[in-house]
């Protein structure tokens, strides 16, 4: 990992793999959309609305995965003081927030035909909503603190505390739901997942992951260059 502490090395790596990541993203989305919208049969219970799963579940999985990456990067920043670690967390956050928003919106659009309500406080949607707040809080920390060095220190704490909170939230909302809805609640992925549904889902999940990778690498490149830019601007002004 120390090899990539050098930003120039990271930039070289990034420009080498970026085209491949982008290509993989496009191919996977094409395959995912085709298998999800054309090949997969409609569900005998939900009809065509089951196809919403192919954009909802990957978004939700990515929302959780990206926050985990942010927490991991923050931990690496604290323990190893890796200079790119804070940057990795900072650039990942807006992408994660966007996916969380999509998870919430598509979850709502899936819920309305299924349960008749635009919103229900079930474990899944409630946890996603809290996760959205966690993302917004993290982004707000970077915006609110003017000194980037201090912002980084606070952001690390916020990311880690939030990460520990996620399973606690999930557990407590599950508990609360079990108390207030003793009748069987419709699980968002139905009784069992058939392979004709599972395969498009996995393809789309991989597509979303590749998309995140492409965006994240691009964002890190831009931030590293922006810092270089600032240093050059300062030197240029100083010498002229």
């Amino acid at each position: 990992m120390q090899k990539f502490a050098n930003p120039t090395r990271f930039l070289r790596l990034q420009s080498a793999i970026q085209p491949w990541v982008v290509a993989a993203t496009i191919v996977l989305f094409a395959a995912g959309l085709y298998s999800g919208l054309v090949m997969a049969p409609p569900d005998y219970q939900q009809g065509e609305t089951v196809r919403i799963m192919f954009v909802h579940v990957p978004a939700a999985w990515l929302a959780l995965m990206i926050y985990s990456i942010m927490a991991l990067s923050s931990a690496v920043a604290i323990v190893f003081r890796h200079p790119l670690a804070d940057l990795a967390a900072k650039t990942a956050a807006p992408i994660g927030a966007a996916f969380t928003f999509l998870a919430l919106a598509t979850g709502s659009l899936w819920g309305k035909p299924m349960w008749g309500a635009w919103w229900v406080w079930d474990a899944g949607l409630t946890s996603m909503f809290v996760l959205f707040l966690l993302y917004l809080g993290y982004i707000a920390v970077w915006q609110a603190i003017e000194d980037p060095a201090r912002g980084a220190l606070i952001a690390r704490i916020v990311a880690l505390v939030g990460f520990i909170n996620i399973p606690i939230i999930k557990f407590s909302v599950d508990w609360w739901n079990s108390l207030h809805q003793p009748a069987s609640v419709f699980r968002i992925d139905g009784p069992a997942i058939h392979s004709s549904i599972l395969i498009p889902l996995l393809i789309m999940a991989t597509a979303y992951t590749m998309l995140f990778l492409a965006l994240h690498l691009s964002a890190m490149r831009a931030e590293i260059n922006a810092r270089k830019l600032r240093q050059m601007e300062l030197a240029h002004v100083g010498s002229s």
Binding site: V38, I52, T106, W110, L215, A222, N225, A226, R230
Partner: protein, 61 residues
Amino acid sequence: MSFAAEHIGFVIASYALSAIVIAGLIAGHILRAHQVERRLKRLEDAGAPRRRKATEVPNEQ
């Protein structure tokens, strides 16, 4: 997929919304990358030397 099925509007809305948000993400990132590249190039043309030694990125914006 049958476009006449009931609730098809929800499916279309979900996919459309996802496409719009993803397109927005991609556009935002491309714009940001171009903005930085453009300013870097302008600064280089103005004669500011690129740092010869690749040093660690200090923790500053």
